[in-house]
């Protein structure tokens, strides 16, 4: 029973991480029709920047993370303006451009920090114990930060003027533009927001797991699975699907072991595609 609860908590924090990654990813797609292959790169870059700030420069952990997030968000903003903006209507072109940019980014990371994993540690060791189950403090903090950020994103998207404008853009770009919402202002901000979220996840999670340059691939793959499950462009779907994926992963790795978990996950994805090709909460896929 205790094992069941501990595993559930692990699943919850995994789910929260995946949700952070997938919300940004699906947001960019929903609004701009862009498949951002740099999303995994933002996760890695966030981790490395926070690592350098915290371990090498001695900046306090929380400040290091905040600075890393701001830096990556700014990077995302510039990237959108320079590379993506001009080609935003052609989803093959934007995909290949971000793919290329990501290859360059990862090479840059390897040049600066090396190809081997670096020793990035969470500042608060130890774990919370009650009865027979235990939960590391680090995971608890990550879970709390992720939950707050996700709530913040929901507030931003569904309650603020900026969020309303974003959703209007996603619904119908022509009508939204006619109403005076300017794509040239909205798109870079959305990109910065999404990449900032990925960087926050990277900066928080990599000290618990590991930090190496090629982490981005698996994160992107996770985002793909979450987004397929949840329905492309749907923030709510992505959140629900992320927690499903997190739970399945946690329980299957404990009770089935190793890569059986991925098989279960892939099985779920296949089944869902048979029954509901547009995902849990997806509507008809957009013709971007």
């Amino acid at each position: 029973m205790n094992g069941l609860i501990s595993t559930g908590l692990i699943g919850l924090s995994l789910g929260a991480q995946y949700a952070m990654i997938a919300i940004g990813f699906t947001l960019i797609f929903g609004i701009m029709g862009v498949i951002n292959f740099m999303h995994g790169g933002a996760y890695v870059l966030g981790g490395y920047l926070a690592f350098t700030l915290y371990h090498s420069l001695g900046v306090p952990f929380a400040v290091a993370i905040a600075l890393a997030v701001i830096a990556v968000a700014a990077f995302g903003y510039v990237l959108e303006v320079l590379l993506v903006d001009k080609y935003v209507n052609d989803h093959l072109a934007t995909m290949l451009i971000t793919l290329g940019a990501n290859l360059i980014l990862i090479t840059g990371v390897i040049v600066v920090w090396g190809a081997e994993p670096v020793d990035y540690r969470f500042p608060i060791p130890g774990s919370f114990r009650a009865g027979g189950f235990y939960f590391p403090y680090s995971s608890a903090i990550v879970l709390a930060v992720c939950a707050t950020s996700i709530a913040g994103m929901y507030y931003l998207i569904f309650r603020t003027r900026y969020g309303i404008a974003l959703r209007a853009m996603a619904d119908n770009r022509m009508v939204a533009t006619a109403q005076g919402i300017r794509p040239s202002r909205m798109f870079p901000l959305a990109f910065a927001l999404a990449m900032g979220l990925a960087a926050l996840t990277g900066a928080m999670v990599t000290p618990i797991l590991a930090l190496e340059p090629n982490l981005g691939e698996s994160q992107l793959l996770k985002a793909f699975i979450v987004v397929i499950l949840g329905g492309l462009g749907s923030v709510g779907g992505a959140t629900i699907a992320a927690f499903i994926v997190g739970m399945v992963e946690a329980y299957s790795s404990v009770y089935l072991g190793g890569s059986k978990g991925s098989l279960v996950l892939f099985g779920i994805v296949l089944l869902l595609l048979l029954v509901r090709p547009s995902g849990l909460m997806g509507t008809e896929a957009r013709k971007a």
Binding site: F29, I35, L83, D85, K86, Y87, V88, N89, D90, H91, L92, A93, M95, L96, I97, L99, G100, A101, N102, L103, I104, I106, T107, G108, I110, V111, A115, R173, M174, T177, P183, S184, E217, L221, F224, I225, V227, I228, L232, S259, K260, S262, L263, F266, V269, L270, L273, L274, P277, S278, A285, R286, K287, A288
Partner: protein, 334 residues
């Protein structure tokens, strides 16, 4: 339009024609370095042709490594466990078995619209990798299948480095021929799907049928690439078919140009040779790939071949040389 079609066809034929002289390489070249480079180039070319077939319908497939693995493993199992080394049988198996796998998969995958298709084909590679690792009794798991014997035909054993390469080049020619035939038999249908799928469908074109044909043949061609790879390495190993190698094959097709068959061939040759030149600084070759991909998409949407055609074209506008993407790219924010 007719003139355009003739010129397209000439470039497609030119693509096949540049492969033919490669047949001489095994007999003229002795240096293992160049033999290996030719082998890598040809495998890259075959894989890029697998991408190219789907690109003709504006679908970007990341399935190539998965079907390469199926074709390669099929040939390895036949020869290692079945004792079958006949070249024709092995090539047929590595072509047909991926096609058979592609049929049910196509039913599932081709219902998906563009973006879902991309995601799902990406995940497919990962599923196959896990499947290989989880079935060690069948596929050798993480050890792969080693000791694949050389193929034989009419009493000749293709065992020496030169003859191993010859098999790769023959596979390349067969793949090129298949690609040429498929893209020309269904040229009109593929083109109408590429330009406007909804319109094509409303004019009575059974889009799903032609997409399936493309998907199945793309799988077969990829399978040949897998066979060539496994045969040359004399082993089938999961790392040869890593998911993210799909990006390389897509890059080959795009950098070369997606408009004609010559494009993926030129793209694969240029990028494989360049990344070998850069291999002394291994880690920069990924960045080089990225840079080329970005530059080509941004500056030359028709790829190298498309761009050269545009420059040498005698008509000031160059006819309909650029693919649709460039026109779309020009209109900012719809």
């Amino acid at each position: 339009m007719v003139a355009q079609r003739v010129r397209d066809f000439r470039l497609d034929l030119a693509g096949l024609a540049v492969l033919v002289p490669l047949l001489l390489v095994p007999f003229l070249v002795r240096s293992p370095l160049y033999l290996s480079l030719t082998h890598q180039t040809v495998v890259g070319i075959i894989a890029a042709m697998g991408v190219y077939i789907m690109l003709r319908m504006n679908l970007l497939p990341f399935t190539v490594p998965a079907f390469m693995a199926i074709g390669g493993y099929a040939a390895a199992m036949l020869s290692v466990w079945g004792g079958m080394t006949n070249l024709l049988v092995l090539m047929t198996a590595s072509f047909v078995i991926p096609m058979l796998v592609a049929v049910p998969l196509g039913i599932l995958v081709l219902r998906l619209k563009g973006t879902y298709f991309i995601f799902f084909t990406f995940i497919l590679n990962e599923i196959l990798q896990v499947a290989i690792f989880e079935t060690p009794s069948l596929t050798g798991g993480s050890d792969g299948i080693a000791g694949v014997p050389p193929a034989t035909l009419l009493g000749i054993e293709f065992g020496t480095p030169s003859l191993l390469l010859l098999v790769t080049i023959i596979s390349g020619l067969v793949a090129g021929l298949v690609t040429l035939v498929v893209t020309h038999v269904y040229r009109a249908e593929f083109a109408s799907i590429e330009e406007n799928e909804t319109l094509a469908e409303s004019l009575g074109l059974a889009v799903w049928w032609y997409r399936s044909i493309g998907f199945v043949f793309s799988a077969g061609v990829s399978g040949l690439a897998g066979f060539a790879m496994v045969h040359m390495l004399t082993a089938a190993h999961p790392s040869s078919f890593a998911s993210f190698s799909a990006i390389n094959y897509v890059a080959y097709a795009f950098v070369g140009g997606r408009g004609t068959l010559l494009g993926p061939i030129v793209g694969a040759a240029v990028l494989v040779i360049l990344s070998n030149l850069f291999s002394s600084q291994g880690l920069y070759s990924a960045a080089l790939f990225g840079l080329l991909l970005m530059v080509v998409v941004m500056a030359a949407p028709g790829g190298l071949v498309g761009e050269i055609r545009r420059l040498v074209s005698w008509r000031p506008t160059g006819g309909r040389l650029q693919p649709l993407t460039q026109e779309r790219a020009r209109g900012k924010h719809g």
